[in-house]
Symmetry: C2
């Protein structure tokens, strides 16, 4: 049975990368990488429990899974031979590797635990087992037109759900209630679900960049950060909005304008050839010049696609050269401990000359515009 598109082209591309890297077989465990190469949508419910692994060899492709996922694997991973394993998946993979006489095996060192690696090594003591995570993340760096379309649909849906949520929002509702309404709206509008746990952080909670919604009742005059995204067809959106019910205090206006200015500066400055650390600096310089450098403690942005965080990271600590087809968030923030915070996040695609804003709703920034 042949692999259907777009998976056939992607498997072809991964085989080319394997040849270049001198790797004969490739074990693919990360759920996004599996789905990217095969269409298999199962998700892993635990950090250390896998719902399946692809084994790509020069001439064959296997999906090794267990009883629980057999039907799903056979339906979804067309063109892959589905192989059942018991609780010791390393044993089944070892057998396949020996049967196909693999002379080396690549694996995702950033996902595979030490325990699983050692089990693999016991099964295949005579062949090199080599880190190959970069090979797979490189493949997913540049989005094709089909992927951009999916991301834009997820984004449009997220923006609609946010609009509905603001109509629902009023002082006295808890963060959890509002977050649930938002996620419910996403699903009602057609999402598979939220791409990640939505953040609704109000008052002092807005000073925690990765706050989990609490039972805190939202009040007037305080910052409320929404950070959320719908997942649709396997692709996620990721945007942040900060709003205030009632009249914002002057410190809020100050940092809001500054964050927006930093964001616009970055969006206007990002282009192919720029490195990711310099992209980060575009926004950071604006915030640092105003004296809020220590209050912007995270990176400017990150790639988004099948995973909510993927390469490239727009960070001081990375210098990936940006290329047309990369999709990244631009999300500066300023956080004032005990009081609140502002984060604004858009998604852009790097184009031949600059970037294209992928959001559909351009009406949000009526107030306050820097």
């Amino acid at each position: 049975m042949n692999i259907p598109e777009p998976y056939a082209s992607r498997v072809k591309a991964v085989r080319r990368s394997m040849t270049r890297a001198g790797i004969r077989g490739l074990l693919v465990t990360r759920p996004e990488n599996r789905r990217y190469l095969s269409g298999y949508t199962a998700r892993d419910t635990q950090i250390d429990e896998s719902s399946g692994r692809l084994l790509v060899t020069p001439g064959r492709q296997y999906l090794v899974t267990d009883f629980r996922y057999r039907t799903q694997a056979e339906v979804e991973a067309r063109g892959y031979e589905v192989v059942m394993s018991g609780p010791e998946a390393a044993r089944t993979i070892g057998e396949l590797a020996r049967r196909t006489r693999l002379k080396s095996l690549g694996y995702e060192e950033d996902l595979i635990t030490v325990k699983f690696f050692e089990a693999l090594h016991r099964e295949l003591p005579d062949i090199p087992i080599e880190p190959a995570a970069g090979l797979l993340s490189d493949l997913r760096l540049l989005k094709d037109a089909g992927e951009i379309k999916k991301i834009r649909r997820a984004l449009g849906l997220t923006e609609k759900a946010l609009r509905e949520t603001w109509a629902f929002l009023k002082p006295g509702r808890t963060e959890i209630e509002v977050a649930r309404f938002l996620e419910e709206a996403m699903v009602r509008l057609g999402a598979e679900g939220p791409a990640f746990e939505s953040i609704v952080a109000s008052g002092p909670n807005a000073a925690l960049p990765h706050a989990v919604p609490t039972r805190r009742k939202i009040g007037s005059g305080e910052t409320i950060i929404f950070d959320c995204g719908a997942r649709l067809d396997g692709y996620g959106a990721d945007i942040s909005r900060t709003i205030v019910l009632g009249r914002p205090k002057s410190w809020i206006k100050t940092i809001y304008r500054l964050v927006r200015q930093a964001q616009l500066t970055a969006i206007r400055g990002i282009k192919p050839g720029l490195t990711s650390d310099r992209a980060d600096a575009l926004a950071r310089d604006v915030i640092e010049a105003a004296g809020f450098g220590p209050n912007f403690g995270h990176a400017l942005g990150h790639g988004v696609g099948m995973a909510t965080h993927e390469a490239p990271a727009l960070s001081r600590f990375r210098s990936t050269r940006l290329e047309p087809g990369m999709v990244v968030t631009v999300e500066p923030g300023i956080y004032i401990e005990g009081r609140g915070g502002v984060r604004l996040e858009e998604m852009v695609m790097v184009t031949e000359k600059s970037v294209r804003l992928l959001n559909r709703d351009r009406t949000f920034y009526e107030w306050p515009e820097p």
Copy 2:
């Protein structure tokens, strides 16, 4: 600052285990283990991204995290010294280990990736870095009274949410709609959220033991499997119910009765001293004797606590001796490809002589009782 209870006793217990194992320092990355030892509730949003790591030494305890989680770490992990790291957490951990002159370091081999282990090893080339996951999971095997109370509250809440969902359920609603309603009900009733992604699997989808809810419209006369649990105070419930709208076909009645009989046999037979593989056999024998052995492809059950799946596994492939204080699911199932399936899941605590059913709602099995 002192560590408050129950964390102080747990840290004391982990230090005793470390001494017995000859490990001087212990690195704790698994979110449940961190929370168990410190009260730090942050969750990891990605498989390979950590929101913090504990380092327990003979005399000190640290929580190494980054800017995003600083406030949360300081508020929650009382008695821990919160240490900020940059993107290279291994470096910060290495510095702490050198500063406290650690002579060995234990780590969770079933969670730590090869990449992170190698970064640690580069930082600490002169000391042994040893697998210690079992040491931590052993601590969490036996639940104390406070934990049992939390699990029972999560269970009661789950059962209430399920009752509401059945009132909402009718032919024509999609699995996703029903799953969302269920999770919304959990939150409305006071849960932190679902402990895991709820399964609502109808018709042929019920033949997939780990189905994800789809847009399929639920019909009459087919099996609908619910597998869900609320999370409350960090502890999760996990139960499964199979129901039919309208009149069940006779093949459904047959397998339903068989699954229920297998489940009751196991619940009645589990007791301290029995090994987990023999617990599995109690139910499996009933199903195999009726000729449905190949249709029961998963284990009978698993431990539940802060994690949805934790030790002990009630599986053919494990022989853990059951002890009073262990909490496990009992969840036999029969799956008929293309048609549907039945899974029934309860949670029990092993007591001094037998087991105690932890569910609160005893009215479910009015129909059909074997």
